[in-house]
Symmetry: C2
Subunit: 231 residues, 2 copies
Amino acid sequence: MALKLFELVGVDASRPFSPFCWRTRLALAHKGLHAATVPWRFTEKAALSPYQSEKVPVLLDGEASVADSFAIAVYLEDAYPDRPSLFGGEGGRAAARFLNGWGDVAIIGGMFPLIAADIVQRLDAADAAYFRKTREARFGKSLETVAEDREAKVEGFRRSLDPLRLMLRAQPFVGGTAPNYGDHIVFGGFQWARIVSPFMLLANDDPVYAWRERMLDAYDGLARRTAAFAL
Amino acid sequence: MALKLFELVGVDASRPFSPFCWRTRLALAHKGLHAATVPWRFTEKAALSPYQSEKVPVLLDGEASVADSFAIAVYLEDAYPDRPSLFGGEGGRAAARFLNGWGDVAIIGGMFPLIAADIVQRLDAADAAYFRKTREARFGKSLETVAEDREAKVEGFRRSLDPLRLMLRAQPFVGGTAPNYGDHIVFGGFQWARIVSPFMLLANDDPVYAWRERMLDAYDGLARRTAAFAL
């Protein structure tokens, strides 16, 4: 049965960048599944309405459609139980709900002010106008003003990664000795930033940097094959 | 085989308060195990030296001794595999390492400036002097100065609980439908604050408040039986 994944792209349709879509892309690789990409842009809400969603990722699996990255992970775990587990059992599945919250707040929420002004540069005209209008309303200031003090703000973001650093003293992945969906959740944000922005979120000697490198190499280098943004 | 647990106490030896010891106390209850308390105070380092530790909790299980709350949880899971699982499988065990880091940084680290001036009031003279000296050196100011703006600082602490709130939209416990060691990690901090301080860390209408209530009721009301601090 052919799988299809709606993924957010900008001007370059070959470089999907949404952190939520990357969670799903890695989960599919973990399960040894291939999904064809359906490029999607912010202003193409109508394309998703048949699937009761206004946002990506949306996964189509034959007749089934699933929206929301966490719901997709749960779907894949239950629909493909004989393939490598995304959660490593019921306790891991429950804890992934917490990790999803932490990933949304600390990782994606923490990075967003640092890279939002770069994201808008990657979008086509219609999406750029939509993104600027909705996100500037959320911030209450221009994307460029938000980005102005990012060299200082990044220190707070780096500090917020301390829970991950403490964990990395004991094991190389959130999943333990190998990555699982907990890693996909957290790494999705880093892959997003990497694709859209040249801004240096991590110092080279940070254990989180080394973990990010391991995640870029995982699944036969899947994430690394989408090149980092370069000026 | 009789179990013994070294637990930090203040003037009142019947009210152990360490957040790390409460993680262990709840883990023991989860496993249906009883351990006798050995009251311990900060300045009684010598009592722990036979067990290669300077801090509690230290668990004695017959000839075995285990120091550090996470090591104790792993020990209990492996030594008592036929009793209810603390982690819910390998994925849960791995994710608990992350939760342990988040609990240390966001929960215990976040609460500490808010309640440190209350903790010192619960200690006997020798421990109070030790605690004040070591903790004021860490803060670079007096415990009372640290506490001065806690009504403002608590807002930042409350915001830092957003990952937990997002999770609580989907499930009642970190462990899913029932508490597991992930809940013990996070709740340990709340029980610590509850026993030593009258300061209100949570608003009554916060979903985290409702979760804390559920944890106070869990294990036949184990945590609630140690009364909250009252002026």
